[in-house]
Symmetry: D2
């Protein structure tokens, strides 16, 4: 059993600023507000007076930029930055962004949040033509397309390339002349534009980064838009009109910071609404409501208010856990060593607890938390999830690309409850999510991507298509076999 609170991993945060003193320092603070979107590595490229200058490394932002001298070197009045998510797999400096490409005739820096669905075939085709990739990420692909484009201007080359890549992407580029942002035709990932007091522009994955640096929100980047910021000002170009908003619903449910707003909807408020709705959809008699810190506290307080049951601190998260390299051995874990989460015995002892969490991935974390509460004396634990059961993988930027690891894809709700050890288990309905977020758009699911819950992918899956359907088929067969075994 892997020891990890949450196995959903976001695919990074991006931040850029054009026209301001201390651009790289401002980018540092912007990225600092986006650190929750990626902890594996970070980097900044600044537009110095003569050339683009960059620094990137593995680790938290505060490790990568561990002293003033590093930032001081990145002088200039424009900069872009990137924080990269932590994968379970191997950590590799080569994948840390922004990438900085040196050409005989120009320099381009590139940062990317998302996942391409035709990366594999594009890469294979580009390599067939002699292209050399330095990282295993799919970010470089855009640069190869741009450089191979036969269009006349950089703008046209980029527009052509954006129409070639498929999937979820928010790109941020920096040249000596411009800062360029682009969002995929479905707007899977959030991206916002802000403005500094001096008129300078800011682009960030979430609005919380705008607030942190004192910038004013201008507007969200819309699907299929290319944002071109230069000394002439900001130009917004629709590089394709074949668009349809399908923003990742998990941004509202789990990823984004509660103080961020996406398409005008505050994330904390959406979560609190989900909690309220959950209390309506799945009430249960109990003594206290407890949220899983930190991401589920908004939903839990919503549930408590709606249910008129006290909201209590029944679980506490160690706030220093992010940087700890020492882990308990298996033996110590069995003795009860718990680094990250503790149950508060005095609060939960003898109580019937409603435990609110935002989502269930593998189920191992839920199992562990329910167990924690019961060991601390809770007489009942009713698990309430602020979103529907996660049954389908994501190909647009969340690190779940197989159904195998998803407990809800492999078990009935009752079986899940048994595995997790809760006294009851209920999920928020799909409509509950949609209503709680309350996007104003006249679009399927009001503009949300709900594919993790219902498999309704808003785009073709390209390179993943064959594999995905084969896996569905395999599962089906396996399921039948399992059922047969059950009935024997």
């Amino acid at each position: 059993m892997p020891y990890e609170i949450k196995s959903l991993n976001e695919e990074c945060g991006i931040f850029g600023v054009w026209n301001c003193e201390e651009a790289s320092r401002l980018t540092y603070f912007g990225l600092h507000a986006l650190q929750h979107r990626g902890q594996e590595g970070a980097g900044i490229v600044a537009r110095g007076s003569h050339e683009l200058l960059g620094h990137r490394d593995l680790g938290l932002l505060s490790d990568v930029f561990s002293n003033e001298a590093i930032l001081d070197r990145l002088e200039g009045n424009a900069a872009i930055g990137h924080v990269r998510y932590a994968t379970a797999g191997r950590r590799n400096l080569a994948n840390i962004q922004p990438f900085l490409f040196q050409f005989d005739d120009e320099q381009i820096a590139l940062a990317h949040n998302g996942n391409l669905t035709n990366a594999k075939s594009l890469r294979r085709s580009l390599e067939g033509e002699g292209a050399i990739f330095h990282s295993s990420s799919d970010t470089e692909i855009l640069m190869h397309l741009i450089r191979r484009s036969t269009k006349a201007t950089l703008k046209e080359k980029i527009m052509e390339s954006l129409n070639t890549v498929k999937g979820g992407f928010a790109y941020l580029l920096l040249t000596n002349d411009a800062m360029i942002a682009a969002l995929d035709p479905n707007g899977f990932r959030p991206l916002a534009i802000g403005q500094l007091k001096n008129g300078g522009y800011v682009v960030a994955s979430e609005t919380c980064a705008l607030d942190t640096i004192g910038a004013t929100f201008v507007r969200d980047v819309n699907p299929g838009e290319l944002v071109w910021i230069s000394d002439e000002g900001m130009e917004i170009i629709q590089y394709t009109t074949d668009t349809q908003l399908s923003i990742c619903s998990m941004e509202f449910i789990y990823f984004a910071r509660p103080d961020s707003n996406i398409y005008g909807v505050n994330v904390h408020t959406a979560r609190k609404n989900m909690g309220r709705r959950l209390a309506q959809e799945a009430p249960v008699e109990a003594d206290i409501v407890v949220g899983v810190p930190n991401s589920s506290l908004s939903a839990a307080s919503g549930y408590a208010e709606e249910a008129k049951i006290p909201y209590e601190l029944g679980l506490i998260k160690n706030q220093y856990v992010a940087r700890t390299f020492i882990q308990p051995t298996q033996e110590l874990r069995e003795q009860g060593v718990r680094m990250k989460l503790s149950a508060v015995r005095k609060v939960v002892e003898g109580k019937r607890v409603i435990l609110v969490d935002d989502s269930i991935v593998r189920g191992t974390t839920s199992q562990r938390i329910v167990n924690l509460l019961k060991e601390a004396g809770a007489t009942e634990v009713h698990l309430r999830i602020g979103s529907p059961a996660l049954k389908f993988p994501c190909f647009y930027g969340i690190d779940i690309q197989t159904r195998k690891e998803l407990i809800a894809a492999n078990h009935t709700q009752e079986k899940m409850r048994q595995i997790i050890g809760a006294d009851s288990l209920e999920f928020l309905s799909e409509q509950g999510v949609i209503d709680s977020i309350g996007l104003p758009f006249d679009a399927p699911y009001t503009g949300l991507c709900m594919a993790y819950f219902n498999g309704d992918y808003p785009t073709p899956l390209y390179d993943y298509e064959a594999e995905y359907f084969a896996s569905l088929q395999r599962e089906k067969e396996q399921e039948t076999t399992e059922q047969k075994e059950v009935f024997r």
Copy 2:
């Protein structure tokens, strides 16, 4: 204006374990749960098979023990550890504990949480006899007293020495034969005993550390007790009977982790009670209740429940802030860069906000937060403090030794409100604190030290006495002068 959320500093956390495999590793996890009590430095001394072995350094625990090899070197089945608070002043490795003393005939490790009130005179007297101190902390004094004692046994030497030092102290010592804990006659600082499944003993500043490592709570160490743990088991000796419990009320209000229990009282519950009581004592019409993260969230939710006003996430704290070396320049701060706390505009905009905080020290933080909320659109901000006004310094282990820095010691409540910029400002009453905590003891203030609020120090002040009363006198004169100036 210094940029810091809270300027109250705890004087450290201590943790020790006797009789267990991987004692230093368990100590690491115990200290990890006590990290909030001190971030300047950390150390562990383990009782190896041949000798005591130690490691200590400046930085967070995870920096000091940055790899397994360091812990592996500290082999042995008993260990003590220490986390030290961050002072504003200069950081000095020499003060990081536990100290490890090498004698020709024995080794002793020593860790200390508290502050001696006769340290200066003891030190001067010991130096007069030729004693050499290596640190500027008062911790070494005990060791000099022990070594100079003419008593026959180590136990008697320690008991004699404990009766010589005055003030607030929780000591933890390790020798090759025993782990020894001792608490001052007033029990100013918390100290708890736990037991491992294998029968081994644990001593920790707070019970949260016992929970973290899977130990069972046995009992609190009482004032004037000496706890002697060896291979013969645990012996508890009353080294003085001249005791009177006066545990620091700020432990309940601010310092301790919410999941800790002190003398049977859960800290979160006490804080929630304070919030409820505050709602009764100082009600106000408003739209939402917002707590200052993280320490005031319990009190805020208590206030909200009692007042039946929604509890909202109007402020958010960046959870990665602890390790950031890069700070905004004054210029960036003026542009609105805020690293640590953000107001959530969508939540507070157009709202009358009740802002709940646990205490006010200098007032600069409150001023800043009120300002944050107003900038984010709050129409009114009513500041409610979960404790009485802090007017008197502490000499028992909290880093406030002068009245100068305390806003409440220098201004009327109305003047404070004006400085802070709140629409109203109310404090919880002394009795409110006492009732909310609800200690069961038949003692002044039911066993709490309330001196920060009322100047009623439970002990003589020794070395601080003259200076303290001189300062009171100076203030009085100054006050008169100020008043005169006002009336001119």
Copy 3:
């Protein structure tokens, strides 16, 4: 005046081993023996059981591989490594080798010692076809050529590519199937093959690396050869027959370690011969002979023996200087602070000194050393240089690409003597160098490249041609102007 002993910089050292346990560890020790060829950065790529694994970083080898864990991760039975020279310019991780290229169908690691003369035009042409370079070094070019080759096999692709690049190069490649070495058609840089006791093969820039790891010397790689080592053994292919040995004479004079042998000639012996010959060609009456440590000690002892004048330690080099980041300020330097070299007053005081150095680049170092000796009391200092005057830049791998910095290209010998402040100054003749080294080949200069001394470049200069001749022209005009000014 820059404070640096020698401004000639070598273009790296390479080392590879095929078929041995602990290949990366052996490569570490091999590179350790080649550290004098490059101190800016180092890297190793090992052929693990499943894939190629690499580690590289800025700094000395001992910094880059600062603990066992890093080497342990690079498991496998084949590895290649690289040490990179320290340029005056900016340090960049991107240029540190070996490069490790990840393709959909294979992995290739590449290390390079040398300099291509058609790099600029090849790069421009490749970029025109969409190629993306990640470093500013010319090493990547070969990989782009290989990947774009339309030949059938990797071997043929490499052979084709080797015939496209021009200039000086010793390449080392590692794939999952083979270790491949290649030398340019002039053999500008040394490259030797060795064999381990178990039959495994080793390739190294210098034979001293073979000795260090206990390998037996097999033979030098010859100009135009491709060495293909795989589990089938070693195959040596002549990828071009248009070859002519022109090995860099500076390898014998200054770069190579004295215990290395190149084409059968021991470097120390060659230098000692140069010293003897210099004593014959440029005798002078004096009391002691002093060599500039460490590179000129062999030549100095040769001079002393031939001249029958005592060889003394008149200069001493601080052996800990390599890693010192603290440099004397200008003010301290003026007070006489000297970190690197000291004159031994008791040895030189009142003496007529013959100072032997291997070469003069800018002249500033010579000036400083002569001054040191005079300050220490030397009555005369006769500077004797173990090679002819350096007048022409190198385009094959030594970091001197302009005549501007060469004192001998800009001044007469007498003017140089005055600038340096020596009592006399003499150089070894070109024929003296050739005879002292004594290569047995029937080739121009017996197979040496003497271009730095006489401008007789053994190949066309390609991209450098136009610029070089333009600079010669400019100098000529300037010279005339200067002369005119002199005569006015």
Copy 4:
């Protein structure tokens, strides 16, 4: 067999400067010139405008002072520093000097080079009176004596204390008012006074440090002298008249840097003389003379000149070895991996070699070097040692305190030759050492300590006495037993 070139370890270097700008920076460069005297750790204490400030850590000087900021913090116009030797045993920050003692009434920094012979009894007695020691070194003892002295002034207290400690010591102290140096009554360790151009004073273990920083040599500190440097100038006090110079002969033979002068004798010159004398005392027919780098090169060139046999570079030492943490495994060593020293095959192959080394401690290094040369093809290796056989331990500051490890104390010369594998083995005579150094003093051995060679200790051995004679007795008995066994 431990892999180490030399197992004689010096007991540190000290350096101090009074009255100059950038005192700590100058101290850095002074210590840099003394780095050969200690590589375990380093430290500097500076006299800032308000207080003494220090920094010390494990590692080479360049590691301990790895950036300018550390030195910048140590502002002030006086400073003392220390480099500490590397013991085989455990590395401990607590022992790194200078120690900085904080008293209520003053601050004192203390650095020490040497070894006390009555440390153990003094420490035991001081601890009996309650003294607490923080390190395991004997340096602190002086401070305890000073602080416990009942004399009126610091100067008198120090003088009294210097008369209490016994053995070999060169002390350097810094207070806010003075820099103080003191040498033991036998002057076992060298200590020199210099003067800056501005009149400021410098004290250093060796004169090479004076040269490095551009200071003029004033004079050696004599046995029993106390040097008191303050704003009033320099005062030299004879704290005892019971003196007799016995300076460590190993300073001339091995420890000191060749460019240093001790009592007017240049170390290189002394070594060259030893080489010449050795050639006279122990001639042998051979083809080349080879010295063990770096310490024996002076002696070897002296031998070569006297014997009129060519001096050749038959061995080469890797100049980057000092910082390498990765060591060859036993297996690799057996395969012939040699990190530190290489034999130059082309130079020694087929040659009869005279190998000159300065001394033999355990013999293992000699054995290894002889083996290296023979493997490289030397037909004969005649080992010539530039000093007599080391048979007795040192108690005055060299890290050999038992006879067990000394090969010459346990074997006949012929047996040593066999173990080492040389074709012949000869030592320089005692008189040879004395004459070669040529001190001008009318004292036993002209003022040298020759005890390592002949057991003639110039002082009582105090704490070591009983143990030492017991060990001699044990050896004698063992020897008899061994002989009996041989004859059986």
